[in-house]
């Protein structure tokens, strides 16, 4: 074996380039395959676009007339509202659920686990219909003492609109997924960070708020952005309970004029616009988090002395008995 290696290295020595190699200029390698793939790809995309653009069924003229139709635009705003409110509700529920699942208390852990288990198991559509018909379960909602007198009450049908039901269903469903994102993001913060915070005497609330959360949020933003984009399209399910969102609005129009395909294209265009805006927001947010990671908590620079002398007092400073909360002037 070793002899083989030796003879091979001897051969290599004979293949050595001459002195002139050191002075030759470098020319980039020709990348024929790269440009061949580019050509084929562009050709395929062009064919696809041409076939769609010239397809009679698409009826681009009809698409144009309905693109800025007031009913469609109103539907688009409803879709945006649904997305925003559902995500807010979802995160409001997700934070405590994530903390429950990470809690030292086994009962809270079980509650968190049951929530995630329940709402990840039930199909969103079922949840939506249940909330729409919540009046069947609880005909009246009131404020009072359990099993005792009721002070104020109202009919559930009047209190919970279809839009409320939609936000509740979407939010509760998304909370289960969001809480998993938050839980794993919190866990993904390096264990050393917890050690350092604890060793410095931080209580768990301070540690969570000042050390863990800022780092966990940075980890959570890409997947939460992903879920928000998913939510935009989940809102289309509310057409089932007659909430006049983007999809439902285009449905009501094509039910009267039978222009099914063009109106679905109109809806799709607006979904694409909304998702594109969200994608941009997400990437801005990620960039902003990156930057704030680097310059966070920048203290008052002007006030600072430009560094002190290497005095024995300086090193002796820690020796003063550490009174908790006690402030003292140094040097």
């Amino acid at each position: 074996m070793i002899r083989d290696l030796v003879t091979r290295s001897e051969q290599a020595a004979t293949d050595r380039p001459g002195e002139e190699a050191w002075t030759l200029p470098i020319r980039p390698r020709r990348r024929i395959g790269y440009w061949l793939v580019a050509l084929v790809t562009c050709l395929c995309i062009a064919l696809l676009i041409a076939s769609l653009a010239t397809n009679k069924a698409m009826q681009w003229g009809v698409v144009g007339t309905y693109l800025f139709n007031s009913q469609i635009l109103h539907g688009a705003t409803i879709t945006c509202e649904l997305t925003v409110f559902s995500m807010i509700l979802a995160e409001l529920i997700a934070v405590p659920i994530a903390l429950f699942r990470l809690s030292g208390n086994a009962f809270l852990r079980v509650v968190g686990y049951l929530y995630v288990w329940m709402f990840r198991s039930i199909p969103l559509l079922v949840l939506l219909i249940v909330w729409f018909n919540i009046g069947l379960f609880y005909p009246r909602i009131g404020f009072g003492i359990p099993y005792g007198p009721v002070f104020v009450s109202a009919s559930t049908k009047q209190l919970v609109t279809a839009l409320d039901a939609a936000v509740a269903a979407l939010g509760l469903n998304e909370a289960a997924y969001s809480s998993e994102i938050l839980r794993t993001s919190i866990r993904a913060v390096a264990a050393g960070q917890r050690d350092a915070a604890k060793a410095l005497g931080m209580r768990s609330t301070v540690m969570f708020r000042r050390i863990i959360l800022p780092q966990a949020v940075k980890i959570a933003i890409p997947p939460l952005g992903n879920d928000t984009i998913g939510m935009v399209k989940s809102t289309a399910l509310v057409a089932f309970i007659a909430v006049p969102d983007l999809l439902y609005s285009s449905q009501t129009i094509y039910e009267s004029n039978y222009e099914v395909v063009p109106l679905l294209i109109v809806a799709s265009i607006w979904y694409i616009v909304i998702v594109t805006v969200l994608t941009i927001i997400q990437s801005l947010l990620e960039r902003w988090m990156d930057r704030s990671m680097r310059s966070a908590a920048r203290p008052n620079v002007a006030k600072l002395a430009a560094g002190s002398l290497h005095s024995r007092e300086a090193f002796g400073a820690w020796r003063t008995v550490p009174g908790l909360g006690e402030s003292e002037t140094d040097t």
């Binding site: 960070q193 604890k198 203290p299 300086a314 003063t320 909360g325």
Partner: protein, 264 residues
């Protein structure tokens, strides 16, 4: 202050006492009845092969690991427990945090807070835990950073610093809490060889100024030079303890001799 007050008075009350500390991980006894006294101003180096329980023992001192047995006390106060009607009762988290605030710790992997600047790293704990004034703390922190030679890096992010610089910030961060005792957990093990010196230099200055400290280290030269006492641990037990010259120079035990033969 290069000599410890321990050598002057015959039997001072030790600042830090560990008695029969036991820590098990899944029936594996990592720390096996370890006892240690550290006097005010003393520097104790803990040496031993990896897996000998040095780090775990150190983490038991400030309760980052909850010991399965034994007690630790700082200046006569039990760590992690209070005595209630003849029983040891575990402290509430807030009370435990107050105790930890008196014990500084420097980690092998620095563990600086990456989302905070160097200066913010140093003042965060005194600001939030001791609730002291920011302006006052910033002045003190700048002084500490100057002492570790990093005054010019106050507004840098930890990620912009070398390992040696990060570790010096970590030392300044721990000192900002004015701890009564400092625990150094292999402070130079994660550093490139040429950066080890700057960190050991800082620790040496601190110990020379009289900082009470327990240093887990693999740097035998450092231990010989700086330690008032050296503790040799193996398989979770203290095998030998004594003056640095004695333990490192003429060890009594075979296991100590074998270990030193390998590392020196």
């Amino acid at each position: 202050m290069s000599t410890s007050p321990a050598s002057e008075s015959p039997a001072p009350d030790p600042l830090l006492t560990a008695r029969d500390v036991v820590k098990r991980f899944h029936h594996n006894c990592v720390v096996d009845h370890v006892s240690l006294d550290v006097n005010e101003g003393e520097t104790v180096c803990v040496i031993g092969p990896s897996g000998s329980g040095k780090t775990t023992f150190l983490r038991c001192i400030n309760y980052l690991e909850k010991p399965d047995g034994g007690v630790i006390s700082l200046a006569g106060t039990l760590i992690g427990y209070k005595i209630d009607k003849g029983h040891l009762v575990e402290l509430r988290p807030a009370a435990l945090a107050r105790q930890r605030a008196q014990i500084g710790m420097v980690f092998q992997h620095f563990n600086l807070f990456p989302h905070l600047t160097v200066l913010a790293n140093v003042i965060e704990a005194p600001l939030r835990v001791l609730r002291r004034k920011r302006s006052e703390l910033e002045d003190e922190a700048m002084q500490l950073l100057a002492d570790v030679g990093l005054a010019d890096k106050a507004h840098a992010a930890p990620s912009q610093l070398s390992g040696g610089q990060q570790q010096r910030v970590a030392i300044a961060r721990a000192l900002a809490m004015k701890p009564r005792v400092m625990l150094f957990d292999e402070p130079t093990s994660a550093l490139d060889p040429e950066l080890v010196g700057e960190v050991l230099g800082v620790i040496e200055k601190l110990t020379a100024a009289g900082l009470t400290s327990v240093v887990v280290t693999h740097e035998m030269g450092f231990a010989r030079h700086v330690a008032d006492r050296v503790v040799f641990m193996d398989k979770g037990q203290v095998v030998e303890t004594g003056a640095a010259q004695q333990v490192l120079g003429s060890p009594e035990h075979q296991r100590t001799r074998e270990f030193l033969a390998k590392v020196l």
